[in-house]
C-alpha cells in the first residue's frame, strides 16, 4: 500500500510538532525546576556574586579611671582595601596609593597582583589619607570602617591598660585580661556592587550590627597615677637607676589607686618600644624586699606573743647562727633596744632574734598567711609569685636572713598587699584594678568589690605595729619620709641584688613602704628603685619619693593634716 504524499506530510508535521512540544515541555520542566526547586539557592548564589561582605569592627569599650576620665577610647577610622580583579591600571593605582598612604610602591603593586578577591592595603589610616583616597576615585580600591584604639593620655597608666593590636584584640594589660568584655561582637555589612565596583544605591544591603564592648571603670585615679609616674621618672633620673616601681593602694578595700613601672611606653605606638619596657614589673617581677619585709616578721612575733613591746633586744653588730655569722647593717651594733627601736633602727640582729623565737614553722605560717607565697589574684595578666626556700628545707640560717627580707623574693604587689593588711587592722584583701563594667548605655553590668582573703593578725596587734612604723618615719631610718602632721608610717628597705647567682655588694634595690594617716590609713604606697647609683639606701633614695607623693596625694584627696 502506498501512502499518499499528503498523509506523509501530515505525519511528518505531527512528529515535528510533537518533538517541538516535547522540547518545550522539557524546557518548561527545567525552567520550573530551576525556578521553583533550585530558585532560592540560585538566587542566593547570584546575589553573592554581586554582594561583598565587609566586616565592621565592634568598638572596644572605653576604659575610665575612678573619676570617669577616659584612659582608653575607640574611634572610627578608615581602612583601605582593594579588589585586585577590579583594578585595571595596577601600576598607576599602586603609585597613587603608595604616594597617599606613604607605602612602598612595589609592595602595593605586589598586593594588587595577588590572585585574591580582597587585599588590605593599609588599615586605620588618618582622616587626611582617607579623604585623599576618596578624592582619587581609584577603581577597585575601597574603604571600610574600623575602630582604632587610642590612649589619649599617652604613657599614663601604660602598664595597667596595656594595648590592643591592629585587629582590636587585647594584647597586654587590662586590654588583654578583659578582652572578652571590652572587644564586643564584630558585625558585617553586605553591599551590592555594580560592574564598576561601586555601591548600588537602593540595592540589597545586609547589615548585621556590631555590638560594642563593655566599658570599664577602674580603681585607678588619673591624678594619683600622674603624681606617681612623675615622681618615679624624676627619682629614676635623679639617682641613675635602671628602673623603678611604685604602687599606691587603698588599704581599706584593696583598690589599686596607681601602679607605675619605669621605663614607660606609649601604648599608641607600642611597637617603637623594647619589649622589656612593656613588662609590668609590679606584678610579674620579684625582688628581695630587704628591710621592708621586717614589719611582717614583727607582726608574726607580736601576734604569736613571742615578743612584747616592753622587751629589750641587744645588738652587738652581728649574730652567730648555725653555719655562719650574720652581720647587722651597723657593724658596731645598736646596743640594747626596745622592740620599737629595733624596728626604728631596722636592726638585723634584733629581727633575727625575733624570728628565732618564732621558729621556722610559725614564720612560714605567717609568710603564707600574709599571702607572700601565693599570687594575690589581682586582675592583671602574668602575675608572678614570690620565691622562698621550701619549708621542709629551711634551716636556721635561712630563717635568720629571711627575717630581714633576704633569701626570699616577692612581687612589689604582694609586699604592698601584705603591708596593707597590717595598715587596715590585720585583714588581707585581694587587690584589684577594675571597679565595674558598664554597657553602651552606661548601665552597670558587673561590679567588682574587694574580696577578704583572711584575718591575719589581730586589730590591736596591727594598731600597735602601725604606731611603731610611724615612729620609724618620725625618728628612725625613714626620717626622710617624715612630713609634720601627715601621720605617715613606713619602713625603709635596702636589699642586695643577686647577680649571676651571687649576692652583689654593688647592686642594690632601694625601697620604702608605708601608709597614712596611721590611725585611719587611706593610702598605702610602695616605692622601689632598681640599682640606684651613688646613694642606695632606701631611706636616702626611696623615702623622699614616698614623702613627695604622699604630700600631693593628701592634698588631692583632701586628707586632713594634724595641726598639733
Amino acid at each position: 500500500m502506498q501512502i499518499s504524499y499528503g498523509i506523509l506530510q501530515r505525519r511528518r508535521a505531527g512528529v515535528f510538532f510533537a518533538l517541538i512540544v516535547l522540547i518545550f515541555a522539557a524546557l518548561t520542566g527545567r525552567l520550573a525546576f530551576l525556578q521553583f526547586v533550585r530558585g532560592p539557592e540560585l538566587r542566593e548564589r547570584a546575589l553573592e556574586l554581586r554582594l561583598r561582605d565587609v566586616p565592621i569592627e565592634a568598638k572596644r569599650g572605653t576604659i575610665y579611671d575612678r573619676q570617669g576620665r577616659e584612659l582608653a577610647v575607640s574611634i572610627d577610622v578608615d581602612s583601605v582595601y582593594a579588589v585586585p580583579a577590579q583594578v585595571r591600571d595596577k601600576v598607576g593605582t599602586a603609585s597613587q596609593l603608595a604616594a597617599i598612604l606613604d607605602l612602598d610602591r612595589d609592595w602595593v603593586l605586589e598586593r594588587l597582583n595577588r590572585p585574591e578577591g580582597f587585599v588590605w592595603i593599609k588599615r586605620k589610616v588618618t582622616a587626611d589619607q582617607a579623604t585623599a583616597i576618596r578624592s582619587a576615585r581609584l577603581r577597585g580600591v575601597n574603604m571600610t570602617q574600623e575602630a582604632k584604639r587610642v590612649y589619649p593620655k599617652g604613657t599614663l597608666a601604660c602598664h595597667i591598660l596595656g594595648f590592643a593590636g591592629i585587629d582590636s584584640q587585647g594584647l597586654e594589660g587590662l586590654e588583654f585580661q578583659y578582652d572578652a568584655y571590652l572587644r564586643g561582637t564584630r558585625g558585617w555589612i553586605s553591599v551590592e556592587h555594580d560592574a564598576r565596583g561601586q555601591e548600588i544605591p537602593q540595592a540589597v544591603h545586609r547589615y548585621i550590627e556590631p555590638t560594642p564592648g563593655l566599658s570599664m571603670v577602674l580603681t585607678i585615679d588619673e591624678t594619683i597615677q600622674y603624681i606617681v609616674e612623675r615622681e618615679l621618672e624624676q627619682a629614676v633620673t635623679r639617682h641613675g637607676a635602671l628602673g623603678g616601681t611604685i604602687i599606691a593602694m587603698d588599704p581599706r578595700n584593696g583598690e589599686v589607686l596607681a601602679l607605675a613601672n619605669y621605663p614607660f611606653y606609649d601604648p599608641n605606638n607600642y611597637q617603637a618600644y623594647p619589649v622589656s619596657s612593656r613588662r609590668n614589673g609590679a606584678v610579674v617581677d620579684t625582688f628581695s624586699p630587704g628591710s621592708t619585709f621586717k614589719p611582717i616578721t614583727a607582726a608574726a612575733a607580736l601576734e604569736d606573743r613571742k615578743v612584747s613591746w616592753g622587751e629589750r633586744f641587744f645588738c652587738g653588730g652581728s649574730l652567730q647562727v648555725p653555719g655562719r655569722r650574720v652581720s647587722c647593717h651597723k657593724t658596731t651594733g645598736h646596743g640594747s633596744q626596745t622592740l620599737t627601736e629595733v624596728i626604728q633602727n631596722s636592726c638585723n640582729v634584733g629581727f633575727m632574734n625575733i624570728a628565732f623565737r618564732l621558729g621556722i614553722e610559725r614564720f612560714y605560717d605567717y609568710v603564707e598567711a600574709f599571702g607572700l607565697t601565693a599570687k594575690t589574684g589581682i586582675d592583671l595578666p602574668g602575675e608572678a609569685s614570690g620565691l622562698i626556700v621550701p619549708r621542709a628545707k629551711a634551716k636556721p640560717l635561712d630563717l635568720a636572713v629571711m627575717s630581714f627580707g633576704q633569701s626570699l623574693t616577692v612581687t612589689p604587689l604582694q609586699l604592698l598587699t601584705a603591708i596593707s593588711a597590717i595598715a587596715n587592722g590585720g585583714t588581707l584583701l585581694q587587690p584589684h584594678v577594675v571597679r565595674e563594667l558598664r554597657d553602651a548605655d552606661g548601665r552597670v553590668v558587673e561590679t567588682f568589690t574587694s574580696t577578704t582573703e583572711r584575718k591575719v593578725i589581730a586589730t590591736q596587734t596591727a594598731r600597735e605595729l602601725n604606731l611603731s612604723l610611724e615612729a620609724t618615719v618620725e625618728e628612725g631610718t625613714g626620717r626622710r619620709a617624715f612630713l609634720p602632721g601627715f601621720e605617715l608610717a613606713g619602713k625603709t628597705g635596702t636589699a642586695q641584688k643577686v647577680v649571676g647567682g651571687r649576692v652583689s655588694s654593688e647592686s642594690h634595690i632601694s625601697s620604702f613602704i608605708g601608709f597614712g594617716p596611721t590611725r585611719d590609713p587611706q593610702v598605702a604606697l610602695l616605692v622601689v628603685l632598681d640599682e640606684p647609683t651613688g646613694m642606695y639606701y632606701g631611706g636616702q633614695v626611696a623615702a623622699p619619693v614616698f614623702a613627695v607623693i604622699m604630700q600631693d596625694v593628701y592634698r588631692y584627696l583632701g586628707i586632713p593634716i594634724l595641726t598639733d
Partner: protein
C-alpha cells in the same frame, strides 16, 4: 426605448443611493482618523509614561548616589568629631597642664604647706593645704600674673579666688603652721 428606460430605471435607484453612500463613507474615514489619533496618543502616552518612569528612576538613582555621598560625608564628619574628642581629652592630660602652667603661667610646685583653718572654708577642709608664702606664690606675684582685662569669665573668677585664697593663707600662716 425600453432599454433606455431600463437603464434609466436602473440608474434611478443608483442615483438615489448615492447621497446615502457618501455619509456612510465619511464616518469610516473619521473613525480611521480617530483610531489613528488614538493610537498615536496611546503611543505618545506610553512613551511619555516610559520617559516619566525612566526620569523617576534616574532621579531615584541620582538621589540614591547623593544620599550615599552624604552618608559617606556624615561618617567622615563623625570620624573627625571622634578624633577631635580624643584630641580634647589628650589636651587635658595632667602632664601637659603642668608643663603649660609652669612654662606659660610661671607657676611653681609648692615646696611646703600651710594648714588653713577659718570660716571661709568648709568645715571638712579645716586641714586643707594651701600654697605657703615661701612657695613664691605670694599675692603680689599672683597679681602680676593675673589675666589682663576686666578679669571677667570663669578664668577671671578662678584667678580672683586664687588670689583671695593665697592672701588668706598668708594671713593664716602665722597662727596655723
Amino acid at each position: 426605448m425600453l432599454a433606455a428606460r431600463e437603464l434609466h430605471a436602473y440608474a434611478q435607484p443608483a442615483a438615489a443611493e448615492r447621497p446615502r453612500r457618501r455619509p456612510a463613507r465619511r464616518p469610516r474615514a473619521a473613525a480611521r482618523r480617530t483610531s489613528r489619533t488614538a493610537c498615536v496618543c496611546l503611543v505618545l502616552a506610553t512613551v511619555l509614561c516610559a520617559f516619566a518612569l525612566t526620569y523617576r528612576h534616574s532621579a531615584l538613582v541620582r538621589l540614591g548616589y547623593q544620599a550615599d555621598r552624604l552618608s559617606t560625608q556624615l561618617a567622615l564628619l563623625q570620624r573627625q568629631n571622634g578624633e577631635r574628642e580624643v584630641t580634647l581629652v589628650s589636651l587635658g592630660a595632667l602632664g601637659r597642664v603642668q608643663r603649660l602652667a609652669e612654662s606659660r603661667l610661671g607657676m611653681v610646685r609648692p615646696k611646703g604647706s600651710v594648714v588653713v583653718a577659718g570660716g571661709a572654708l568648709p568645715v571638712h577642709a579645716a586641714g586643707v593645704i594651701a600654697a605657703a608664702p615661701q612657695d613664691g606664690l605670694e599675692p603680689p606675684a599672683l597679681a602680676s600674673l593675673a589675666p589682663s582685662g576686666d578679669g571677667g569669665g570663669a578664668l577671671g573668677r578662678l584667678w580672683r579666688m586664687l588670689v583671695r585664697f593665697a592672701r588668706n593663707s598668708v594671713e593664716a600662716a602665722g597662727r596655723t603652721i
